[in-house]
């Protein structure tokens, strides 16, 4: 799975969870600046984990600040 695919997946999942558009996000986008609160954020993480059949360790979750941080945690788990 490429960089772009993960970013695209975040967009689709976030739009489903928060019911609004996330048109212009990049890896550098700060998740809270996108108006995503910690509740939605965990739901997004959960849905991406389910779709990709992997789990990010609980202790890593608090450090996720940007969309890219989340993608990196996922890539780590995929061994990519």
């Amino acid at each position: 799975m490429s960089d772009k695919d993960l970013l695209q997946m975040f967009k689709v999942v976030a739009e489903r969870v928060d019911k609004k558009s996330f048109a212009d996000i990049t890896r550098e986008s700060v998740i809270t600046d996108l108006g995503v609160d910690s509740l939605s954020m965990m739901q997004i993480v959960g849905e991406m984990e389910t779709e990709l059949d992997l789990q990010i360790p609980d202790e890593d979750l608090v450090e996720i600040v940007t969309v890219g941080d989340l993608c990196a945690k996922i890539e780590n788990r995929m061994g990519a």
Partner: protein, 284 residues
């Protein structure tokens, strides 16, 4: 840093009478440790205080510091059951400090202060701190990777205020698993925003990392199911007083606290939250 004075007021200043209705008579607002199936909450709270006082190697002549002393249950226990002649408490809640000082417990003095800024000339021989660390680091600071540094600063301050040979009986609530979905996620969000704003429970590994180079970890006791039982008992007592609480403090207050305590019970059950007690020896 962590919960500020206003946020701590949200958590503890609803009204002392309100908390007295569903906590034990001495108003311990933290996990009790049960010794048997049929032990009362009151006895289990005393048992908890005995364990932490033993961890802190308290003697009648020790000058004891209680950081985040709440309504003074531990200070009173030290003065009465352990014959401690001098015990000092610090709390960020003015209502709590006033309440304890008004009781004029012999040898006990409570300061209304932020421990992270508090200056004192005194040196202590024994320290107890029961579930105060969960107020130290905000979710935002944790995201910025500051949690361990903040906890280490707390341990450094305690170290600087103690005499060589001091011991520390510490108790902290912990976060462990993070739910990704379902009602429990919504409820957890409610608790961290409405009942305990500004704070985030530490993780066990963060505490272990942060004690160095100031304190040596001698014992860690895990008490997850004790806290489940304690919060279930608080919930039972809250519901017993439902009519009085709704009348005096309103429907929202009752419903918020019912939701909060019910969430706690489920969080301990599902390993989302836990609790640990630590016996720490000062590295001189």
């Amino acid at each position: 840093m962590g919960s500020n004075k206003d946020e701590v007021q949200v958590s503890y200043d609803v009204s002392n009478e309100f908390f007295r209705l569903w906590l034990d008579e001495r108003m311990n607002y933290t996990c009790a440790v049960y010794e048997s199936e049929d032990q009362s909450l009151e006895a289990a709270q005393l048992n908890k205080l005995a364990i932490l006082s033993d961890f802190a190697k308290v003697t009648p002549d020790s000058h004891v510091l209680d950081i985040g002393c709440g309504w003074g249950a531990c200070l009173e226990y030290l003065a009465t059951s352990r014959s401690v002649k001098k015990a000092t408490g610090v709390t960020l809640s003015s209502a709590q400090a006033d309440e304890v000082n008004a009781r004029n417990i012999p040898g006990v003095k409570v300061h209304d202060a932020d421990f992270m800024k508090w200056e004192t000339e005194e040196k202590f021989d024994a320290v107890i701190s029961i579930c105060m660390m969960d107020h130290l680091c905000s979710p935002q600071e944790a995201r910025e990777g500051k949690a361990v540094d903040i906890y280490r600063e707390y341990f450094r301050r305690v170290h600087a205020m103690t005499n060589p040979g001091a011991w520390f009986g510490l108790q902290t609530i912990l976060r462990n698993r993070t739910p990704r979905r379902g009602q429990i996620l919504q409820d957890l969000y409610f608790v961290t925003h409405e009942i305990f704003p500004g704070g985030l429970n530490p993780r066990l590994e963060e505490i272990i990392a942060a004690v160095n180079p100031y304190w040596e970890v001698i014992t860690v006791k895990q008490r997850r199911t004790d806290y489940q039982r304690t919060t279930a008992e608080w919930l039972r007592r809250l519901r017993l007083n439902e009519t009085a609480i709704r009348q005096e403090w309103g429907d929202k207050c009752f419903e918020d606290y019912q939701r909060y305590l019910d969430t706690c019970v489920r969080c301990f059950d599902q390993h989302i939250s836990s609790l640990a007690q630590y016996e720490l020896r000062r590295i001189d």
